[in-house]
């Protein structure tokens, strides 16, 4: 059998990865007409969403206006530009609920799911460096403890990191100070998920296994050929398992020490996402630093990483209730923005929340979707209510744009009244919505059948 050319191999590999991504609930781009390349997968349809917790709420406090504004902006395509905005992408597309997106795949910009070349031509031709250097999309959990930012530690602060992502990576307009304030506030609030196996100072607790405890000792043990070095020397347990430094570990230049907290959910590993598992990571370090680990020691180190990287409830099942809750947090921005006559924030909020309502409405299959049986009256009612509420939001933006903030406030009050009825309506239809796995399967099977016909 003749060897494949490197180019053909890449094409085949990309096709296989795209195929692998076509799971029951995946919905890759199927048309050349779309703004993203054929086979792109944004993983927007997944029922299981990363759990997102905020430090203020964990401490018994509440979400501030700035946090809600930042959270809303993080989900807003309106702060990005070019193809990203056109494709309806937001910061949250790559960092779902402030985490990562292990299924994200954009042909030409991803070499495997969960990676992305931030200096490719598609999203900002001005930033194109002509090198296919896709990196792992990082989780932003605990970001406030993890400076500097990006894999090569280019940005000392979250503010600079955020501005770069908006302007340089995704061709957005220069963000205003209030936009950056809010996004920074949001990012600093995204908490590590609780892990009962991890205690004070980054020490394992009694909840960890014996193997993990043995691994902890190995983790702290000096390297055989350089006693000044150890795993814990860079991944400092008492400092969120980072040292805020760049190191050359032979993987291709200087890279930032990544945190190990909640890392079970951060795969693929290494800056370029080359490894799928801790086993591969441990093998790499074993060889690279001539650690001379025995099989049982490798297993113990993996057990340790698995204990440190664990989390309680890493994902939550998405539901109508969860969507309504997020919408409620985002829309609360208008409580301040309308009295402040802040037109920009009102417009962004209406666009973002209106988009979320639309997506929620599309979770209730239309009468034309004959792949779904039952609950037609409930589905129709839910869709009707969602549409009415989207138009109420648009009316608020129109009034504000015309400097009629009194009308904007009145319509917003009306929205609040509509909301109770609409919430009840969408909850009543949930059994026949895409939040129900059976309905979802039927709907996506029909979509996949169309895609199959079109091949």
């Amino acid at each position: 059998m003749a060897a494949l050319s490197p180019r053909l191999s890449v094409v085949l590999a990309v096709a296989l990865l795209a195929l692998a991504a076509m799971q029951a609930d995946a919905r890759p781009i199927v048309t050349k007409e779309g703004v993203l390349p054929l086979g792109s997968e944004l993983n927007e349809e997944s029922l299981d969403q990363p759990n997102e917790l905020f430090y203020s709420e964990l401490a018994g406090g509440k979400r501030s206006y700035l946090l809600n504004l930042g959270d809303m902006l993080f989900s807003s395509p309106g702060i990005l530009g070019g193809v990203a905005r056109q494709a309806g992408m937001s910061c949250g597309t790559c960092h779902q609920q402030g985490h990562n997106n292990p299924k994200l795949f954009i042909p030409g910009l991803s070499h495997r799911p969960g990676t992305f070349d931030t200096s490719g031509a598609l999203f900002n031709p001005k930033a194109d460096n002509g090198v296919f250097d896709a990196v792992r999309v990082p989780s932003l959990r605990g970001a406030k403890y993890l400076a500097p930012y990006t894999h090569d530690g280019k940005f000392p602060t979250l503010r600079e990191f955020t501005r770069n992502a908006i302007v340089n990576e995704f061709a957005g307009p220069e963000p205003s100070p209030q936009v950056l304030d809010a996004l920074e506030a949001y990012l600093k609030e995204i908490a590590f998920l609780p892990n009962p196996k991890l205690g004070a100072g980054g020490r394992l607790t009694k909840n960890a296994s014996e193997a993990a405890r043995r691994g902890e000792a190995l983790f702290n043990r000096p390297f055989p050929h350089d006693a000044a070095m150890s795993c814990a020397g860079c991944h400092r347990p008492d400092a969120a398992f980072v040292d805020h430094q760049l190191h050359d570990i032979g993987s291709g230049g200087l890279v930032k020490t990544p945190t190990l907290i909640n890392a079970n959910f951060n795969a693929p590993y290494f800056h370029d996402g080359r490894f799928d598992s801790y086993g591969e990571v441990v093998d790499y370090f074993d060889k690279q630093f001539a650690l001379g680990l025995k099989d049982n020691e490798r297993a113990d180190l993996v057990a340790y990483l698995d204990a440190v990287g664990d989390a309680q409830e890493p994902t939550i099942r998405n539901s109508v209730e969860a969507e309504l809750d997020e919408i409620a947090q985002f829309i609360s921005v208008l409580d301040t923005a309308i009295p402040e006559r802040n037109k920009d924030v009102i417009a962004l909020t209406v666009d973002t929340v209106g988009g979320q309502w639309r997506e929620l409405g599309e979770s209730f299959p239309a009468a034309k979707d004959t792949s779904v049986q039952g609950g037609l009256a409930e589905r129709r009612r839910a869709r009707d209510m969602v549409r009415a509420i989207v138009l109420s939001l648009r009316e608020i933006a129109m009034a504000a744009a015309g400097n009629d903030f009194e009308s904007a406030a009145q319509v917003y009050a009306g929205y609040r009244q509509q909301l109770a009825q609409a919430s009840a309506g969408v909850k009543a239809a949930e059994a026949w919505s895409l939040f129900n796995p059976e309905v979802r399967e039927a709907h996506f099977a029909a979509l996949n059948q169309l895609a199959k016909l079109a091949k």
């Binding site: 048309t31 779309g34 056109q86 979707d369 009415a388 016909l453």
Partner: protein
């Protein structure tokens, strides 16, 4: 009768006359919509028949061109399809179930596969023939409220997320679909509502005309890749809001945008 009572009676009579005149004007406009709808369903049916012949002849390119022609006719009458012919609308425009209608045909046809689409094509021709028959029947009449509902609903749908390829992703004609949708909205608005609304609120009437032009500007001569999706979304929603705002001035109910 006292003078104030006489004046009040006179005002009431004038309002009644004006109101009746408005209603008559809307009814006449609604009647004027029928030739537009018949013409475009005629285009949809003719295209479907051409597609049927091309499929039988094994000519994929001709069948694809005929699908696009048929689809253009259909998209232009979408303000009335769901509102006045919901059952036929459901089978002709079913999605995503790949058993019948335009989209079941589209997916295979634009991949150059003709073998399995003979049945759905025959079904489409039959359903469009039935649509044409019901629409053309002398007894069938459009009523203004339904037309306003249909136009408003379609304006809302114009704003739906098109980032994954829009309504006709395999044919690649989604921007044209939207253009034709907007043509349909414009026809309905101008034939039925514009003059009456202009007499009552000239500013609002003009805003609606301008907004229809805005929507057209987003899609005219463009493919979906080059359409400002966010701008189109906003313009579609704004048009729907303006049409809703017009309703009480037209003595009609606020249009519902659901199915």
């Amino acid at each position: 009768m006292s003078v104030p009572i006489k004046i009040a009676t006179l005002i009431a009579l004038v309002l009644l006359v004006v109101s009746r005149a408005d209603a008559q004007s809307l009814v006449k406009g609604a009647a004027d919509c029928k030739p537009f709808a018949v013409e475009h369903i005629g285009i949809a049916l003719a295209g479907a028949k051409e597609m049927q012949a091309a499929v039988k002849a094994g000519d994929a390119k001709a069948a694809q061109a005929a699908w696009i022609k048929s689809r253009k006719g259909w998209e232009a009458v979408e303000p009335i399809t769901g509102e006045f012919f919901p059952k036929l609308d459901e089978v002709i425009d079913a999605w995503p179930d790949a058993k019948q209608g335009y989209h079941a045909i589209e997916a295979a046809l634009f991949a150059g596969k003709l073998d399995d689409i003979g049945g759905p094509v025959d079904g489409l021709v039959a359903n469009l023939t039935e649509f044409n028959k019901q629409l053309s029947a002398p007894s069938f009449k459009f009523e203004p409220q339904g037309l306003l509902n249909g136009a408003t609903k379609l304006a809302y749908e114009i704003g739906e997320n098109k980032s994954k390829g829009g309504e006709s992703p395999y044919a690649g004609t989604s921007a044209e679909d939207i253009y034709e949708n907007n043509e349909g909205i414009e026809a309905v608005y101008k034939l039925v509502f514009h003059e009456t609304l202009k007499a009552r609120d000239a500013k609002l009437a003009q805003r609606i005309v301008d907004k229809i032009e805005d929507v057209e500007g987003f899609v005219k001569g463009k493919d979906l890749k080059n359409v400002d999706a966010a701008g189109l979304n906003k313009a579609g929603e704004e048009l729907a809001v303006l049409l809703q705002t017009a309703a009480p001035k037209l003595k009609l109910q606020k249009p519902k945008v659901g199915e």
